[in-house]
Assembly symmetry: C2
Homo-oligomer: 351 residues x 2
């Protein structure tokens, strides 16, 4: 356990930390008294059928989902829906390496899979909130991985699904990219095999990690069209330092590594003995597959190939030169595209 004010209520709240009991893990081991950081908006209706679940992405928290994706008058409207934002395990707000005591803390934290998050969230929704139907599960990147896992694992519960900029089975290319991120951190001598005294000790590794993200997270077109300058930065180096390096600098390295491993091993195919098509064939949710046009590691073609395996699904790409980080919502045309697709999806009669 280590102090890290970055994950505080001041920065990411308000959120509630809700215990869901001991969580047995797919890869073995147990997280005792697993706690999920949860934010909610809106009210569950009498029929208990207006709930929307939003999981989180790598390095992100519920806060950015609130800021970029939900709001009155938007598709994800808290005046119509009861919106549950559940922070992923290892993300820093829920149970994570940096906030866990004893032998399971820090580098001793067990391997967690997307399926563990989804089972934890299922327990949260059913036991804590008394919800047994979800009008929609929507998430980006690792949030999309969780969305796919939800739709395959609980096909009767999930009525609609919108995986944005992510895949159901992580690709080999994506695995290799995540490996480079992991190496950027773990090869910093001050990482000390995960036994650093404070996260800032690993600043060199975090910095390299941020620079790798700069190359793969946006796109060549983003830089060519000067989007970084349009965002208010003076130069590409200014953008790298004040946006990318600054964004990742306060995060906990072991937390990031927990998420990176989870991201790499996402695969709904394991529900059908490795048969991805059979697993995706179980989905009964109306599904809009929503990749982002210029995404360099969850590219259109990879997402399209999976969409073709999902019964009744539709391919709804989002156009943005911001690439994967279109997710951040800086592209002024992003939110309107997201809302148009999600509004149409939510209007879809699934009875």
């Amino acid at each position: 356990m280590i102090e890290n004010n970055y994950y505080s209520q001041d920065i990411h709240g308000p959120y509630e930390r809700i215990g869901i009991g001991d969580l047995e893990l797919e890869e073995g081991g147990t997280i005792p008294d697993c706690t999920l950081a949860v934010a909610t908006h809106g009210t569950l209706n009498a029929a208990r059928d207006n709930a929307i679940l939003i999981p989180t992405w790598y390095s992100g928290s519920s806060r950015i989902m609130e800021q970029v994706y939900i709001g009155p008058g938007r598709a994800l409207d808290p005046e119509r829906y009861f919106i549950v934002l559940a922070n992923q395990i290892g993300g820093g707000l829920s149970t994570s390496p940096h906030n866990t005591d004893g032998a399971l803390g820090m580098a001793g934290f067990p391997k967690v899979r997307i399926g563990d998050d989804v089972r934890a969230q299922h327990r949260l929704l059913t036991a804590h909130f008394g919800i047994d139907t979800l009008a929609l599960v929507v998430g980006g990147s690792m949030g999309a991985q969780q969305t796919y896992e939800w739709a395959v694992r609980y096909p009767d519960m999930v009525k609609r699904a919108a995986p944005i900029a992510g895949t159901a089975r992580n690709t080999e290319h994506d695995f290799l990219f995540a490996d480079t991120l992991i190496e950027a951190i773990t090869t910093d001598p001050d990482f000390r095999s995960g036994r650093y005294l404070q996260s800032s000790d690993v600043s060199d590794g975090l910095r390299r990690h941020a620079r790798l993200w700069t190359v793969m997270g946006w796109s060549p077109d983003f830089f060519r069209t000067g989007r970084h300058l349009a965002m208010g930065f003076e130069s590409v180096q200014d953008f790298v330092e004040r946006f990318m390096v600054a964004y990742f600098a306060p995060m906990d390295p072991n937390d990031l590594l927990c998420m990176a491993w989870k991201w790499q091993h996402a695969d709904v195919g394991r529900h059908a003995g490795g048969d991805l098509k059979a697993a995706l064939g179980r989905i009964r949710a109306k599904t809009f597959v929503m990749p982002i046009s210029h995404d360099m590691f969850f590219p259109l073609a990879d997402c399209r190939a999976e969409q073709a395996m999902i019964p009744g699904s539709e391919f709804r790409p989002i156009d943005s030169v911001d690439g994967h980080f279109g997710l951040f919502g800086y592209d002024p045309d992003y939110a309107a595209q997201i809302d148009a697709h999600l509004s149409e999806l939510l209007a879809f009669d699934v009875t």
Copy 2:
């Protein structure tokens, strides 16, 4: 200076090392007795107008250009043309950090720009071979950077130009990518600021460098369509180890860094006070701009934007899921596409 058998005649030859005298450098300083490693094929005709120049790319030598690009009956036919393959400075065969003695050797090697290579090659062609017209300059990646530099700097001498998978001015995105490669090497503690005792001391850094290349050098579609398996590897990890890591492992780190810096700073715009369009407007060569469809760091759009600035030029993309490393020629459809475009270009009447 350091022994490195990788750059030997056995592996890259036969080549001749030709002195072109002292080379004053754009960034300051001089390479005394600069030597270029040169391979030639074919015979210079009586009119001295059938010469083709082929510069080399990052980490590559004249050998792969001979193996993949030239041959009897092909567009680059040594029975019709006098083909000069000139290895770039810093590439390991010509004057390079690892083979330079004294204060200028190893980490003391001066900064070299694309323009320095092109002036050195110009001296080689005019003074050594007595050539003052080039039927074609063609190269890939950093070879494309040299091709653009040739066409802008010596517009009367270059009759045709074919930059493959490269740009005339390096982009910000590409600069950041090259930075990650540089960091992969220089952050290895055994790099010792370039004062390692043998290149294998830096194996960790070279390994990380190879893994970054795996992510950016090919493409997501390459892995999704199983091209690495079609190339005979058992798995993606087998491909990473036996192809990518093995390819870069014997190379000299300081040589790679010399090339990486040069690659980052390529910019023909400096011939026109920073005005790229004005510089490219000077080109009188018939130019085919030939990016590769799935290239992740010299993408179609970046190359297209430059092509639009070159008088009389044509945009001739090559289709290959192999991405940038399509250059290696493993895609069975690659050579035929290259030959079709180059044959048409060479048939173009430039008188």
